[in-house]
Symmetry: C2
Subunit: 602 residues, 2 copies
């Protein structure tokens, strides 16, 4: 039977052959996660995803979430899936067992979670954000707060959210107006209105914990005066039982393009004058605390993007293998063939395949760098892995989500007219994944983070570390005769990427900051393309080594497919990347120079 | 107030300054359409589109069309809009007044219609297809058939459809199985099932005329045995009144990603053994007759794509002008600014602007070539214009629709989170426009048409004619000092495009046809990019001339905006195009060489 969500062979390849995730078990913190256990976890996650979560995807889209009287009803089918995830302890895989987690490596946790997310991204969003909220408490909470919240959140008894955005404070959180006034008992009275709150209200759990960004009376203006508060839906008694209802209410949910199965809530805090919250961490440090969690959230979006693209690819592939239409070009018998025989269909499928593979490697790689940073004894290595994570996060979030939208669109195109109908899941995947370039910092913000922050950090060390890793892969690839030419092309593109980075940096520091940043997004595309090429070359090198050593017959098509992915990317995408480098290096200023009136429309 | 749908200044620029559409009135067939009349027509069309059609767009999406008991109900709001379009005689603008049309130039008709389509693409689809069906009758019908159908269809009293696709015959129409058996009275009994029939059933008019592709008993297999039949929903009596119900029934409508306001019907012919149709044109010539109409249908899709992209741009522009968020980069007072001040927003807006402008020029240009072909006395010119239409149709349909999807996605991105919600129309526009790369021949089919048919026709004369026109524009541009460099870059890219075409042609004829066609879509992108660059350079040249002569103050921003569009396209997109040319010229064979099993997923 055709596989769905993710190709297991490829997941195993990345986990074991590319990143040797089983080796992490040599370190005591991951001692129980040897290769055998890793495989068991993936097998179980995949079963659960395919049998229990995937069936909620369409109903989540079609029935969606319903709002009435401050309450949100999720589809009935969600409850069973939620309970199974909670009972199976799948909700906090990489967290410390002491606080309700499983203590897994991040790499493994991500691999398992991308199966779930591919089953129903909208549904899994609630768990992802719960995780993020609990992480804030884990990092910045008092012991009392940790004891009160962590276990209940990591085990799926309660959920968590993120109350950041307001109607006039989106990308610019510093503009928020929600206020906090200190009470005599040490709590704060919170007043304000938040929007775009994923899972801000629902009927899956008995309590919901809202971390809220607000400004304490008298705090500085802008981003330096923002604090973080914990606002539970129901107060929690000293014995851990639930108390009265807090004055935090959902006032509506958004109608939107996709992720209908995730309620996007407007939340009113203190509309009856009675919303209580407790400071989390330090006064006026709310934004910086929140941003410490950003890597995790953004990696999650990369994982969602990968999941949707991977699902779309497998559906398109299966359709192309079964749909009969027209004879193959140049066929002698003129007999109608399955459409996988048509060159343009093959172009689309191989394009999906190589991006999905490259994205999977990249997203898992970043998680793996986190694991390596934790397990290495070397201070230099720790720093290097942290640097790699920091420079690759905007690529994981920004570049990967942009390409995921493209790949989900290609999935529709392979289906032709059928792909546009709701009879197949590919149109939903494209609508769902379209949120990924927007939330957790728009991709424009990601590109600015890459160009404006990450390139300049530690005197450029992050990019140097990335280049060094690419060079290592290039050197390994060159040892395989058939990959030498591809490897040289990847090395050349990486070098030109570095020059483009230097050029844009100089442009910005020479007083043309606006002009430089008008090219931030194309520059992010360049780094993304080079990163994809690197990952695919790395994969091809491993595959080439296996083939040279005489891989088993059943493994040969997979390894040969790795060579084809790398060849196709390097020969058909990298030349376009070089064109983009030329464009960015030319640094046309038209976008910033054009008079606002010249855009027309008045 | 902000403009919607299309920027009137730009529409006027293309009609009058770029194509001098008023000059067509020098020819007797267009005598009444001088500049003043052209302007009046556009003003009226725009009013109707904005005031009456645009308000049906959201309800068409949200309420959509309902199916029950073989009948389809459209939203109530559609009836008024339909009647206004019929009463105002807007349904067949370019057709002969003798058969119910207005006798307008195609250029003007298209300009007016793109306003309507921008108002509600789904709604207008019914009129577009009626037009196509009537054109078939006009071209291939007997005098009796023309008298029976044409006027009623062109005036919107009846509508028309196209019954082509079957469940197993989509891109491969030759595989269709609907049959026709001749009756003693000269009619045919038709039996079969069709799918994906836009407006196949609805409640807007009293009759629906279905041109149906079917195979006459004993006809050859495949595409050479297909004939075209007229199957009316209600039979027509000799006095023109409606008779009995024909046995052609809607059996359901599709749930789909977008164009919810257009019913996509499954149609059953002869399920009760009593469906009657009449041959249209010649036996076994159904497909070739149908394909003679393809240029018109595909140009319509280009117009739809343009309309959606143009609407999305104007919404995004207005949002960017009013939404305040963050201080401008490098701002000294750090005061929050409207987002049109942020460089990445400007990049997105200028990208939308230049593509919308280039698409508008291209789509109108093709219509204009049709008008010029009709009005010129010169046989050579007639052929040249026909050649330009033929080579540019796949670009109008394929390239323009692909870029329109991208531009509608950018429109969402400018809005950020708001763009993903149904509070703004941009998410609907992206869902609606996503059908354009699929229907009327997928974009893969367009790319094959360009590479496999159009390039080879008349020993390559079509491409030569296109190159000649580009060269003329380049020569004019070079007379303006500031455009010389851009003009040379466009000329260089065009020359490399020609070389890439020759290379792919040689690859195909050297026995590597599969490999060549795996690059058909990227090649179409190349021709599309070069065509955009040409159109934008042409526009900039006209703008430059006006500015040199001292344009009025109120016109200066518009003309300066033209220079910026051309500069931005040539300097930031054309380098990427050159990269794509390098990729196509390298002609990687991985997509056709990869073993089918190596795609994985099993």
């Amino acid at each position: 039977m055709a596989q769905v969500i993710a190709d297991r062979r490829d997941v195993d390849f990345v986990l074991h052959e590319q990143f040797q995730v089983g080796d992490l078990s040599k370190h005591e913190i991951f001692a129980e996660f040897n290769k055998k256990v890793v495989d068991m976890v993936i097998t179980e996650a995949r079963n659960l995803a395919v049998k229990e979560i995937l069936p909620t995807q369409k109903v989540g889209d079609e029935v969606g979430c319903k709002y009435a009287n401050n309450e949100v009803t999720t589809p009935d089918e969600y409850k069973r899936a939620w309970d199974l995830l909670a009972e199976g302890e799948w909700m906090a895989l990489a967290r410390d067992p002491e606080v309700g987690g499983q203590g897994m490596p991040e790499t493994l946790a991500l691999a398992a979670t991308t199966y779930f997310t591919g089953g129903n991204m909208a549904f899994m969003l609630c768990i992802g954000l719960t995780h993020g909220a609990a992480r804030l408490i884990e990092n910045f909470g008092t012991d009392e707060q940790k004891a009160m919240y962590l276990k209940n959140m990591y085990t799926g008894k309660w959920t968590g959210t993120m109350l950041l955005t307001e109607a006039d404070a989106g990308s610019d959180l510093g503009a928020l107006t929600t206020t906090a006034v200190k009470n005599s008992d040490g709590s704060y009275s919170i007043t304000g209105n938040k929007i775009f709150i994923s899972s801000g209200e629902h009927d899956l759990t008995e309590n919901i914990i809202h971390p809220v960004l607000a400004r304490i009376e008298g705090a500085p203006e802008g981003s330096r005066g923002i604090s973080l508060f914990l606002v539970p839906k129901y107060f929690i008694n000293d014995d851990g039982s639930l108390g009265d209802r807090n004055d935090v209410y959902c006032t509506g949910i958004e109608e939107k393009m996709g992720i209908h199965g995730s309620p996007t809530c407007s939340i009113s805090l203190g509309s009856k004058g009675n919303c209580k919250g407790w400071l989390l961490g330090k006064e006026n440090k709310g934004l910086s605390q929140m941003f410490l969690m950003m890597n995790e959230e953004r990696l999650m979006v990369g994982g969602q993007s990968l999941s949707c693209a991977s699902s779309s690819y497998l559906y398109a592939l299966e359709f192309a293998r079964t749909r009969v239409q027209s004879a193959a070009l140049g066929s002698k018998d003129k007999k109608p063939a399955t459409i996988i025989n048509h060159p343009d269909i093959r172009r689309m499928l191989l394009t999906q395949k190589m991006y999905v593979e490259g994205m999977r490697s990249l997203v898992f790689y970043v998680a793996n760098c986190e694991d390596r940073a934790r397990t290495t004894e070397s201070v230099e290595e720790k720093e290097k892995f942290a640097n790699l994570v920091d420079i690759l996060i905007p690529i994981c979030k920004g570049y990967v989500s942009d390409r995921a939208v493209d790949m989900c669109s290609l999935g529709i195109q392979v289906f032709g007219g059928y792909g546009y109908t709701s009879d197949y899941p590919v149109e939903q995947l494209m609508r769902d994944v379209r949120i990924c370039p927007i939330y957790e910092g728009t991709n424009g913000i990601q590109a600015m983070d890459l160009l404006g922050r990450k390139l300049g950090m530690k005197k450029g060390q992050l990019l140097t570390d990335l280049m060094d890793e690419i060079k290592k892969s290039v050197a390994s690839a060159k040892e395989i005769e058939t990959l030498r030419d591809l490897a040289e092309k990847v090395a050349g593109a990486a070098e030109m990427m570095r020059e483009a980075a230097a050029h844009l940096g100089k442009t910005a520091s020479d007083g043309e900051i606006q002009k430089a940043f008008a090219h931030a997004c194309p520059f992010m595309d360049i780094v993304g393309d080079v990163t994809m090429a690197w990952m695919l070359l790395w994969r091809a090198t491993l595959a080439g080594q296996k083939l040279e050593k005489g891989a088993k017959k059943k493994d040969r098509p997979f390894y040969e497919g790795q060579l084809k992915s790398a060849e196709f990317f390097v020969r058909s995408v990298l030349p376009v990347t070089l064109g983009r480098i030329a464009s960015v290096t030319d640094t046309c200023g038209a976008a910033v120079e054009i008079d606002a009136d010249a855009f027309g429309g008045k």
